[in-house]
Amino acid sequence: MEDLIIIGAGPAGLTAGLYAARSRLRTILFERLTLGGQILTTDFVENYPGFPEGISGFELADRMKLQAEKFGLEIQNQEVVRLEFFPKKNIVVTDKQNLESKTVILACGATPQKLGIEGEDLLIGKGISYCATCDGPFYTNQEVAVIGGGDMAVEEALFLTRFASKVHLVHRRDKLRATKLLQERALTKEQIKIIWDTIPTRIVGKNGVEGIELKSVKTDKVSLLPVRGVFIFIGYNPNSALVKGHMELDKLGFVLTNNDMETSVPGVFAAGDIRSKLLRQVSTAVGEGAMAAFAAEKFLER
């Protein structure tokens, strides 16, 4: 039986793994894709403390991994497909093996939220994107739309100005939610045109995105914006399918925990974007990963 199994190797999971390894807990960290989580989709992390020049998401994740492995953390590239919680143990089933562990840390993160409008599913891969760093270069000298008003939407809109001739930032209110600094940058960037009080209603195109239908929330007026790419940054859905019905979640599906990262199941903890909380950042994920590992250690000592 393991002391601790950590699910997810983004910043939260990697930090939990680092602390667990240093505490000499028998730990395995499972990751189904590659280490790094969502920071791999961002070009540059500017607000993680300790890096005044900023750092690429990939490099930051790589450093976190090397550090954890230096202390002996075992990382396995497998997908956890089922979890069963019992008073004295937890069963973790991956696509390759069945294991038991005294404690579990859920660091599964979140995935981008979809708009849920007509044309979205049809045109995935053909002009609809949730990752500007992946797909931006395909739109060199073309016009694109970015949907959203938070940090991600504004940051990625700014990133896209490196390629696109024009970036239409579509937001449903008359004020952006993003950090003030990012707002300042966006408002002074020539290539970014903000379309306020507007929501997308339909994405159109036959073999690829040709345009997006917009509707004013104030006047109900509908218009068609011709763009070849639509980038959607409206929020995140928690990757909590594994624990749905097994523990308390908030109404959006994020895992509820107390200040010590304890979920409603004793011996099971959560850290990072999967948690119900106010702020989702690398800096908060790292702090929570450390706390969760420490809390798991205290639990094991009981």
Binding site: G36, L40, D95, C134, D135
Partner: protein, 107 residues
Amino acid sequence: MSDLLQVTDENFDEEIINSNLPAMVDFWAEWCGPCKMVSPAVEELAKEYNGRIKITQMDVDGNRQTPVRFGIRNIPTLMLFKGGKVVKTIIGAQPKSHIDEELKKLL
């Protein structure tokens, strides 16, 4: 990026369309983080299916024509070919097991 056979605009027809074996092409680029998520899995699968399915990569940075030919505007995209035709397109980073399932169907 790896040991995988890299296909280009120039040799695409020869290597993929006219291939005797079923084939998969992993469209990637250096600046694409999620592409790096998928690559290790693709490399492992290439070894596992060696001789049965031809698993290759295409750098879309240096090869602009082929992505346009197949309407690819998002990466990572994995395209599976049999008899010169596209039989499956997988868009976005997926775990190895999902890709493996699709490869099995090719055989």
